[in-house]
């Protein structure tokens, strides 16, 4: 960093240092909030200010984590839940986009189906849970179906909406070259809406988690949702809290993954710029 300060005006150096100081301060305070939160929790539990039977406490959560790890179940539960989420997420995104494409193709179909989409969108999908369990059977497939039910309609509506609002003049431009409907789609509608589709992806990650955990609450033999429900039933708050924390970390990691994909895809242009210079 100090090398970069060479050949710069004093004002510029002052500015850069200020930006850097702010960045560091943000990180420090951010980390301190986390550390302080767990420290206070631990101390309060040890001093019997809070009842650790109800609130659990960090040291007991670590112990729970170790037990889970020793019994070999930890990664089984994490793996099952993550797998279900990723499956729901990928199927939801692909299927949703494909259906949106088909609907974009025909205005008439959209007009016909609109009320059904609206009803399906506003229906609380959890209500469909028992139906899935009976139809598909109690297992991971019912849970994936649950995740799909929650994310699919939103994806369809969001992507379709983006497709429909493609710049009319960009479409006119390709039409002046005699483009047919397929070419209008491949040359304009699809590429111009990649950012919108990535946004749908981001929403989808969150919704898939909701779907999977809901599904695991309803029916499951493994997974983080199962651990939470089981812990609740046997009044083991240590297990519940530990699972919630693992869930939070896993969800955050997956979201970051999507952000990474987004940067990869939309960063293509900037990368191309640098190549050409």
């Amino acid at each position: 960093m100090s090398k970069k300060y060479e050949n710069l005006s004093p004002e510029r150096i002052a500015f850069l240092k200020k930006v850097r100081a702010e960045k560091i301060a943000t990180w420090v305070i951010r980390t301190m909030i986390l550390v302080l939160f767990f420290a206070l929790w631990e101390v309060a539990a040890r001093l019997n200010l809070i009842d650790s039977f109800v609130t659990s406490q960090p040291s007991r959560m670590v112990k729970t984590l170790m037990n889970l790890y020793d019994s070999g179940d930890l990664f089984l539960h994490i793996g099952v839940t993550c797998l279900e989420t990723v499956a729901g997420f990928i199927i939801g995104t692909i299927l949703g986009t494909v259906i949106a494409v088909l609907l974009w193709w025909s205005d008439f179909t959209v007009r016909v189906l609109e009320p059904y989409l609206v009803v399906l969108n506003s229906l609380p999908k959890v209500a469909l849970g028992p139906i899935f369990i009976i139809w598909i059977g109690a297992g991971p497939f019912a849970i994936i179906a649950m995740a799909l039910a929650i994310s699919l309609i939103v994806t369809i509506l969001e992507v379709l909406n983006a497709f429909i609002h493609t710049d009319e003049d960009q479409i006119k431009l390709v039409k002046t070259f005699g483009a047919n409907r397929l070419q209008v789609f491949t040359k304009v509608v699809f590429p111009s809406n990649i950012p919108a589709m990535i946004n749908a992806l981001k929403v989808n990650v969150g919704l898939s988690w909701v779907g999977v955990i809901t599904g695991e609450f309803l029916v499951s033999k493994a997974g983080l949702g199962y651990l939470i429900v089981y812990g609740g039933q046997v009044f083991q708050l240590d297990l519940v809290m530990t699972s919630v924390i693992i869930l939070a970390i896993a969800a955050a990691l997956m979201y970051q993954g999507v952000v990474w994909i987004q940067n990869k895809l939309t960063g293509q242009q900037t990368a191309g710029e640098q190549d050409s210079i």
Binding site: D169, Q170, K172, F177, G178, Q269, E273, S276
Partner: protein
């Protein structure tokens, strides 16, 4: 130079909507000779752009027909190149990928056509920028890239739909100069729609004045300057420029 390349015959256009019927154009007839530059001026919203869309084959007229080289226009003709109000270069394509868009759509990406595109890029100073993205180019360069995109499919006739209206005034003057010389250089026929009287006079051989909606032809002005080598900027300085301007201005009959 004498045969008519575009022949517009009694064209009329009515738009249908639930609220009723709007007559945008009524009984318009004119013809354009090969190599000629013709402008259509008229009050805004009078149906000028509709007329261009009909000539290009994007819209089907309710009455009449358009002939290009003696053939009736029924769908978008390959002989016609269309330039829209903005450049509409696609952000996700490089300049080269943008200018070959038309060839790609018409499935004519032959080596000869690619060479022609490279030749156009070289001739008009965009070759070094062919791998850049539109955002890295100035407004004038973008407009030039848009013109090359149109020229790449080798049209006989260029339709310019307020093609410079999105640019600021200085750029607009420079780009007009630029595009005009390219069009003349390539020996293309051009039909331009504009609401800018000065621009139409400075570029055209003939100016066709249209009335308010429904658009009809009010008058046709033959524009002649006796400058040596005609360019839009020189024309603006010519003594009879004012005269043409005032005549057309009066005919447009603008009330504020």
């Amino acid at each position: 130079m004498s045969e008519d390349i575009v022949d517009v015959r009694n064209v009329g256009m009515k738009y249908q909507s639930l609220n009723g019927e709007i007559t945008a154009i009524q009984d318009i007839s004119f013809s354009v000779k090969k190599g000629e530059f013709v402008s259509l001026v008229g009050p805004s919203g009078c149906g000028k752009s509709t007329l261009l869309s009909i000539i290009s084959g994007l819209l089907k007229p309710s009455q009449g027909k358009v002939l290009i080289e003696g053939e009736e226009v029924l769908k978008t003709s390959e002989k016609v190149g269309y330039m829209l109000q903005k450049d509409y270069l696609f952000d996700w394509r490089t300049i080269y990928q943008n200018v070959i868009l038309g060839l790609e759509i018409r499935r004519k990406l032959t080596p000869e056509n690619k060479d022609y595109v490279i030749h156009l890029l070289q001739t008009y100073g965009l070759y070094e920028f062919k791998d850049k993205y539109p955002k890295q180019l100035s407004g004038g360069m973008r407009q030039r890239a848009a013109l090359i995109r149109t020229l790449a499919v080798q049209p006989e006739i260029l339709l310019l739909d307020e093609a410079f209206s999105a640019l600021d005034y200085q750029t607009r003057l420079a780009v007009t100069e630029d595009i005009y010389s390219i069009i003349k250089n390539e020996g293309k026929t051009a039909i331009m729609v504009t609401h800018d009287i000065a621009e139409s006079i400075s570029m055209s051989d003939r100016v066709i004045v249209l009335t308010n909606r429904p658009a009809e032809i009010k008058s046709i002005h033959k524009i002649e300057f006796d400058c040596q080598k005609r360019t839009p900027l020189k024309c603006r300085e010519a003594p009879n420029f004012r005269e043409y301007f005032n005549n057309i201005w009066k005919e447009l009959d603008v009330h504020v």
